[in-house]
Symmetry: C2
DNA sequence: ATGAAAAGCTTGAACGATTAAGTGCAGAGA
DNA sequence: TCTCTGCACTTAATCGTTCAAGCTTTTCAT
């Protein structure tokens, strides 16, 4: 509405009768010019409505944009609704914001071709849970030598941030098994290589490929079960394809609707979303928690704690994962792989 | 690891012995050169690992970046944890992704100075719930003539997207008042001009400034109450400063810990987060819902529906708000203000 | 055969900044 | 007085593209 077009640094310089270099320095390197001139420049800029150097031009010239891209495994639409991913982003945003950087969201899934295009603008990449799509990763690699940090999966020899999935699941299973269970069920999250939303045989489960973090979690469960001398064949397993209520519900309904003698009385779930869906569906069916059914989760999202009964779960600090990833990307922290520790939360769904 | 530096379009052109224009056209305007040459260019690009035109340079030259910025009222850290904001972002991302655009997240709060800087890179702005900070808005205005869409607040004569807050709250209050209530409480969200987390007098509530959407919601409640001939002075009011469990909990604890004769038996809450916190705290205290206390929310977030008891609330389609905003920004839809309708959800917390 | 139109490609000037190198000048030390 | 240093500022190249305009060559109706 005001000016027909944004004024440029050059025009501002001309207006002042100084060189563009001086104007540039007034904004970027105050030590390179006299305070008097600097003040004149800033004053005139204010007067003409010049908001400082154009980000596009600046980033072309300097090669840096102060933009960090987060590449999410799933569609953005899904990731933004997922509590764990949101917490991660939250932590990332916290650090980036504090250091004057901004956050660009990219999806590794929806529009794979989009990533290389837009990506060359970012100064670095935080890649989250991107399973197989190595194609994309190679794209990023070759997009110049920008720093890359992986979260929740391994990515060549780039630094990766994990939590101690195996020990965590060992710990919670161990805790759960302190109380004897007649029928144990494990509800996995994206464990299988091929999509499968329902019961799985352990044959599937032992294929050592696919999502490594869920493999580790299962391994933790198995270690605790074995230690308690529970035969793994006696443990029923299911797989969930997507961490949403809608996808979890039918599988859990199937489990909870099993005849009383076959229905598990202990459900080890690989995510809080799965566990919370189990709690809701159990409550609807009048199945008492924890008397008739004990349930454990994984993640420690707020929703599981700020409700009644409080979910028994393992807390992973996704926010801190995000902060750490961001600090590494910004070079505030040496880039190296980390495995963060988790914390058992003894809630009410499996006391 | 591979090449020392990203190869440029110019180098690629030199390598092929053609002009840079042709290479550019091979990527951008296939109709401008022979299929044969185009194939040669693309082939050579593949061979040399050239990933297409550099986004920084391209955006400088064309003035467009295919990046849309979302400016959030609160800190990113907070917004990303908020279910309503996440749903909005989810809807925005869905549309942007589908049209090859990416999403840049900016916070209007944390680092106000950051916005003008990074903002010049975006092709358009979706501004969400940014109350008073008109300063920032003027910044955006003057940052060229980029489209701006406001969500959940009014922004000069830019198009704004709202929901029908007043009718929605009228409807849910009307529904709630069908069953007689002895003591009614309203828990407002960021209603007051000055921060206040606790009880408020109606004098405060009637100041017609501040957050307009919460004012509208209160007006809806008031209309229904008046219609039922409930004296507004008899309705107790509280205010919540931030839509998180941590901030809600102390205020709601205070309400629920009132002596039996003073404690409300109907609580009209301005958000699902508030209502759900009330449900949790009530359950912890053995207050029966809905027998001893009926609770209504606002927003219709998933968390309130995928639990037991299901929350009685008004559903606003935040995802659709996001989609609409994105479509308007991309020019897929004429830019004009909208007021989306809401939907009463008769849950179990206030049957 | 001829001229006009179309096709295919090139030229070269932007886009809006940053920055190494250079210039001129005032003041300090000898 | 003369050189030397440091300060304040300017010059001009550069970042990697896009695109209007120009130049050939081919195509095609007449």
């Amino acid at each position: 509405m005001s000016s027909p077009r944004r004024i440029t640094l050059k025009e501002l310089a001309a207006q002042l009768g100084v060189s563009t270099a001086s104007v540039s320095n007034a904004f970027n390197r105050p030590d390179q010019l006299s305070p008097a001139l600097r003040e004149r420049v800033l004053e005139e800029a204010r007067r003409l409505g010049y908001r400082g150097p154009d980000a596009k031009a600046r980033s072309l010239r300097t090669g840096r944009s102060r933009i960090i891209a987060v590449v999410l495994a799933e569609t953005l639409t899904y990731s933004l609704k997922d509590a764990v991913a949101s917490e991660l982003l939250s932590g990332i945003a916290e650090v980036l914001d504090a250091h004057g950087h901004t956050l660009l969201l990219l999806s590794g899934r929806q529009n794979a071709s989009q990533v290389p295009g837009s990506s060359s603008i970012a100064d670095g990449f935080i890649v989250y849970g991107l399973m197989a799509s190595m194609a994309l990763v190679e794209e990023l690699q070759s997009a110049g030598h920008k720093p890359i940090v992986a979260v929740d999966f391994d990515l060549g020899d780039h630094p990766a941030i994990h939590v101690d999935d195996e020990p965590a699941c060992y710990a919670i299973a161990q805790h759960a098994l302190q109380t004897p269970a007649s029928r144990i069920g494990i509800v996995n999250l994206r464990l299988t290589d091929t999509p499968c939303n329902g019961p799985i045989t352990d044959a599937h489960a032992l294929i050592p490929t696919g999502q490594t973090i869920t493999r580790s979690r299962l391994a933790g469960f198995h270690r605790a079960l074995t230690e308690r001398e529970v035969a793994l064949e006696d443990v029923a397993m299911w797989n969930i394809e997507e961490n949403t209520y809608e996808v979890c519900a039918p599988v859990l309904a199937e489990i909870l609707d099993l005849p009383a003698g076959e229905r598990p009385d202990l459900l080890l779930c690989m995510s809080d979303r799965i566990a919370l869906t189990a709690v809701t569906l159990a409550e609807q069916r009048g199945i008492r928690i924890p008397e008739d059914l004990r349930i454990t989760g994984f993640d420690g999202i707020e929703e599981g704690q700020y409700r009644s009964p409080r979910l028994t779960t393992v807390h992973q600090d996704s926010t801190e994962k995000g902060r750490l990833a961001a600090r590494m990307i910004l070079g505030l922290e040496p880039a190296s792989s980390h495995r963060l520790s988790t914390q058992l939360i003894q809630g009410e769904t499996c006391p």
